[in-house]
């Protein structure tokens, strides 16, 4: 079974390479078939691996597969090696299975695009990088996957390259996350210097012995890297723009997998983060701020994909809050459920967008309930999960788990989380009501194909039932998920105030949905977006984007432009100029008149004599 593990990476990679070398010569259907085959194989292998691992002898430990020695120089060594433990197993399953479903959906979504081979080259390369990120046992290997997914994200956001805004969004997405990557890299340098290797096991083993400031700095840097990847405040500005890519890309990369890589990384290194409570608190604060800011921004968006993008940021905020509170299981649980329902929402949105002539403004949709019922019910299931409607949604259980742990750390976090949940239920059902109820403002064309339905339905079912694997004690003693992860994170801590919190947490989303209904229920007049200075600021990401533009982006480019000729070259140019002008000046003295020369000679002699005497 150890031999099979690399295949999880190799399958999508092989597909990617084949598609790359085919140079688009393959027919679209064959391309889709190949992708479905490769990803299906990948998912099947992942599931097989998971089953054999959990039933095998090492099910509470970890499985190591050393692939090859990467580099070994001086006192430093790194190798390509894979580790399968229960945490990476969960992530591997999310990436493989959800990834498989999304790529299946993408086959239907992209079938008419002439560049479908290029699209799937990037997509499968992304899946391979993500699997490497998840499975690698060496932090440098994680970094390889980390950057790999970043580049794939860049390529896919800018997939429709003929439009300049897409390319700009792609560059922005990469550069902003690159800031985090640079921090992560410095963190790796710090760890590599202290430990001599970047093997996660060794790092975690040595961390308790290391000086605390160094560990704190390392954790801070890694948190910075993770936060940029997950679009946390203050590096969140790239995610809404990244919606320029095709919708399956948003589903896979900017909802289900890549943006959650930061959560996974911190959970992976949780033993180190536990040593520095200050950084944990910072992590919680970042998550807390992001979840509120993003939920606020999502309230006023008009673009359906931007609503979902901000909701992704907000949900990631919950995960970081959970991480900061030490509720590792809750964070990973929410990661899984979020991957399911957010992928579902994006795919639903994609199906809508495809049928309403690539219209993304929800205020120009409406009444779509009748014309696309399957999409409607699937989207509704996703929206319910996102809003956390009690009992019948996966998001409810994972969010409650986070809120309960947050309450045990600081009641303020809980309060903010509940408020965030309240906003969430309003904005997502605002979106649902405007899009699916009321009059038809854009007439849909075509049909939604069966290939789109299958992933939608599977994920919709999962979005309803997946939460039942882990329920609060008050409802039912179901602890499958926390038991699964217990060997990694330890048993779930005892928590207080369960019943009351749960009640409040259940009522709030229902109130939210009611408010949304009151505001956006079908009327004679078509709904229009609110236009006030406030909403405009909110819609533009609280003005972060404009601020960064003025503070960093514009000066960077403008000053570089100003110094385009390079001041250093200018300096040497000035030296040359002085030499040349000086030479020209002295050249005048050589007038060719002997009498002048005699005068100069005499003057020089007198001067020399004076100096000598």
């Amino acid at each position: 079974m150890t031999a099979l593990l690399p295949l999880v990476i190799l399958c999508p990679l092989a597909v990617s390479i084949i598609l790359l070398l085919s140079r688009g010569a393959m027919p679209a259907r064959a391309t889709c078939g190949l992708v479905a085959l490769g990803m299906g194989l990948c998912a099947a292998i992942a599931v097989t691996e998971a089953v054999t691992f959990l039933t095998g002898p090492a099910s509470t430990g970890a499985l190591h597969v050393v692939l090859w020695n990467w580099m070994h120089v001086g006192g430093f060594g790194a190798q390509f090696a894979l580790t399968l433990d229960r945490l990476s197993l969960v992530m591997m399953l999310v990436v493989s299975v959800v990834g498989f479903l999304i790529l299946l959906y993408a086959c239907a979504y992209m079938i008419d695009d002439p560049d479908i081979a290029r699209f799937f080259t990037y997509m499968t390369l992304f899946v391979a990088s993500m699997e490497l990120l998840v499975l690698s046992s060496d932090l440098l290997g994680v970094y390889v996957g980390w950057e790999g997914v970043g580049v794939c994200s860049y390529l896919l956001v800018g997939f429709w390259y003929h439009e300049r805004p897409n390319a700009l969004a792609a560059r922005k997405a990469f550069v902003v996350t690159r800031i985090g990557d640079a921090l992560f890299l410095v963190g790796l340098l710090l760890l590599a210097t202290g430990v001599g290797r970047l093997d996660i096991g060794s790092v975690l083993a040595i961390a308790p012995m290391a000086p605390r400031p160094a560990i704190a700095l390392g954790c801070f840097l890694i948190l910075g890297g993770a936060a940029a990847k997950s679009a946390m405040v203050p590096l969140q500005t790239w995610l809404p723009d990244a919606m320029a890519g095709p919708t399956p890309v948003s589903a896979l990369i900017h909802a289900a997998t890549m943006v959650t890589a930061g959560v996974y990384l911190i959970a992976r290194l949780h033993a180190m983060f536990l040593l520095v409570p200050g950084i944990m608190f910072l992590c919680a604060v970042i998550g807390f701020i992001t979840l509120l800011l993003a939920a606020g921004a999502a309230m006023v968006q008009t673009d359906i994909k931007r609503v979902l993008a901000y909701s992704t940021m907000s949900q990631l905020g919950y995960m970081y809050l959970a991480l900061g509170c030490g509720a590792w299981q809750a964070a990973i649980f929410h990661l899984v459920t979020h991957a399911i329902f957010k992928a579902l929402l994006f795919m639903g949105a994609g199906s809508i967008i495809l049928r309403v002539h690539h219209e993304q403004d929800i205020f120009r949709m409406g009444g779509l309930r009748k014309s696309m019922p399957v999409v409607f019910y699937a989207f509704l299931a996703g929206a319910a999960a996102l809003a956390g409607l009690p009992l019948i949604s996966a998001g409810y259980f994972s969010k409650e788990m986070i809120l309960t742990s947050a309450y045990n750390v600081a009641p303020l976090f809980w309060l903010g989380g509940v408020f965030g949940a309240f906003l969430t239920s309003i904005y997502i059902f605002r979106c649902v009501f405007i899009t699916f109820w009321g009059h038809e403002r854009t007439h849909p064309h075509g049909r939604t194909t069966i290939v789109e339905f299958v992933p939608l339905v599977i994920l919709a079912v999962l979005a309803i039932v997946a939460g039942w694997v882990q329920t609060p004690e008050v409802i039912a003693p179901m602890h499958l998920f926390s038991t699964l992860l217990a060997p990694v994170f330890g048993p779930l801590p005892e928590e207080h105030g369960g019943g009351m919190l749960l009640l409040i947490g259940s009522i709030v989303p229902i109130i939210g949905v009611s408010i949304a209904w009151a505001l956006y229920k079908p009327r004679h007049k078509a709904p229009v977006p609110l236009e006030t200075p406030w909403t405009r600021t909110l819609r533009a990401d609280w003005g972060f984007d404009a601020l960064y533009d003025v503070l960093f982006v514009k000066p960077y480019f403008a000053l570089a432009r100003l110094n385009r000729g390079d001041a250093v070259i200018g300096f040497f140019g000035a030296v040359a100029w002085v030499t040349r002008t000086g030479g020209a000046m002295f050249a005048h003295m050589q007038s060719g008149q002997v009498r002048r020369y005699a005068g100069w000679i005499a003057a020089g002699t007198v001067l020399a004599l004076c100096l000598a005497v």
Partner: protein, 494 residues
């Protein structure tokens, strides 16, 4: 063993032959074939040398008296570092030759002679262990380059050549003074007049004049590499040179500076160079950030790549002056990977210039649909520039950063910040040239890809990936040998 002098003589003689053939015939085809044959023979020879010489330390020797009166020998020695650089030189000669067949229309024979003579000179620089001989080859490698620049350069070639000449000859003079000073010190201390590297290695470091002598070498190599603030000649010369010349300059000629830093600054004067290391490293970090920042503002593609190249060389300098084994080997990997990726990018820019007639990015854009294969390669090499792990550049960058972190955290932090700047300019390049609406839509299609260019780019891609994922053989091979390892042997040879 005459393999080492043959490595130098072969390209020179091959170039001469190409020139003569071109003189008689006048067509471009024949000289091209002759120099291709030369490179092929050179590759075989190098393969033989690599195969024959095993083990570590100094792998090959050659010595015969040249001017005995002054203690000057014709003395060549090869260690792992030289071997790696020789291979890199050969690898970069291929695209140089390749572009020439399409770009150089007049006097092709002379062009081949000059480039091959440069390559011979570079080989000599990498091999010679007699300081006088080293200086001789140093000049031999530069002189033909002036010719290439002056005859086939762009619009402002005269100015660029003059700049290049003044900078390199000025720094060369400094180096000559340093060499002479070192020899005089040696004479004073031992009474023996010799230019032998190994003999001088013993006295140079101990002498009180070590610091100024080291400084002379340092500045000479810093100009060649170049390190900021001595980079003033580079962007202009890179931009004005013909594409083959640019590849030669950026790919390998600059690396002789780094090689010199390792062999003549760091190993001859370990103590003195350790003393000045923090200053040089600070300049390197400034260079990484400054040039990375300026790259984004350039309109000329070649200038953009030139600045990115300067920025990357900062990592090489950091690695060398970190004074650790990790840094040294990281620097060597960086040199190789950077040589390959930069030449590939200059090949791409050259190809674009050939097809569209401009390198001005204000007039370019949306090339992806017109040249999808070239764009894919451009994307890959842009990724190499921005230090994507899995590509050779990253290994070098990471190891040099690691070594820098050992020495100074702040410098390592700022050098790592350079990766943000590199992503900005690399992606800006992609954005302005390949993305966006097609600018050349209405005009004639930009033609089919050229197989030779594509194969070369493909080969560079594969090599960079191999270095990125399996750098260990290169790391093991490239360790520079210490001069002390040979002292006994040097005595015997003389």
């Amino acid at each position: 063993m005459f393999a080492l002098p043959a490595l130098i003589a072969l390209p020179f003689l091959g170039g001469l032959a190409a020139w003569l053939v071109g003189l008689r015939n006048g067509s471009a085809r024949l000289p091209w074939l002759v120099s291709l044959l030369t490179l092929l023979l050179e590759a075989l020879l190098l393969l033989g040398v690599t195969g024959m010489t095993g083990g570590s330390g100094w792998r090959g020797h050659f010595a015969m008296p040249w001017i005995p009166l002054f203690g000057i020998d014709f003395r060549l020695d090869m260690d792992g570092l030289s071997l790696v650089m020789l291979w890199l030189n050969l690898a970069i000669a291929v695209p140089v030759l390749l572009t020439s067949s399409r770009e150089i229309k007049e006097r092709p024979g002379l062009y081949h002679f000059l480039t091959l003579a440069t390559i011979a000179g570079i080989n000599g620089v990498f091999l010679s262990t007699d300081l006088f001989l080293f200086f001789f080859f140093w000049e031999l490698m530069l002189l033909p380059m002036f010719g290439v620049l002056l005859i086939w350069g762009g619009e402002h070639r005269a100015r660029a050549t003059l700049k290049f000449f003044i900078f390199t000859q000025g720094s060369g003079l400094l180096m000559l003074l340093s060499i002479l000073a070192l020899v005089f010190v040696h004479v004073q201390e031992t009474g023996q007049l010799t230019f032998n590297y190994f003999a001088l290695a013993g006295t140079g470091a101990m002498s009180r004049a070590a610091f100024p002598i080291m400084l002379g070498f340092l500045i000479a190599f810093a100009v060649k590499l170049p390190i900021v603030p001595f980079h003033a000649w580079a962007p202009e010369v890179y931009a004005e040179a013909p594409n083959g010349g640019t590849i030669l300059l950026a790919g390998i000629l600059g690396k002789t500076g780094a090689f010199g830093l390792i062999r003549f600054v760091f190993e001859l004067f370990p103590a003195a160079s350790a003393q000045i290391a923090p200053v040089v490293m600070a300049f390197a970090v400034v260079g990484i950030l400054y040039c990375g920042w300026l790259a984004v503002a350039q309109d000329d593609m070649k200038r953009l790549v030139a600045y990115s190249s300067l920025s990357h060389l900062g990592y090489v300098v950091l690695g060398i002056f970190s004074g650790t084994r990790v840094g040294m080997e990281g620097a060597v990997v960086m040199m190789v990977a950077h040589g390959l990726s930069t030449s590939a990018i200059f090949l791409i820019t050259g190809f674009i210039e050939e097809r569209t007639g401009t390198r001005d990015m204000r007039r370019l854009g949306g090339l992806w649909p017109a040249m999808p294969q070239l764009s894919a390669f451009a994307m890959f090499f842009a990724c190499a520039l921005l230090g994507l792990p899995g590509i050779g550049d990253f290994v070098g960058e990471f190891l040099t950063l690691l070594a820098t972190w050992h020495v100074n955290h702040v410098m390592a932090f700022f050098a790592a910040a350079g990766s943000v700047l590199s992503s900005i300019y690399a992606l800006t390049w992609m954005l302005r040239v390949f993305y966006g609406p097609p600018v050349f839509a209405g005009e004639a299609p930009l033609g089919r890809p050229v197989a030779g260019v594509m194969w070369t780019l493909g080969a560079a891609t594969v090599l960079l990936l191999v270095i990125g994922f399996f750098p260990q053989p290169l790391l093991d091979l490239s360790a520079p040998a210490a001069p002390q390892q040979i002292v006994s042997l040097a005595g015997g040879a003389r």
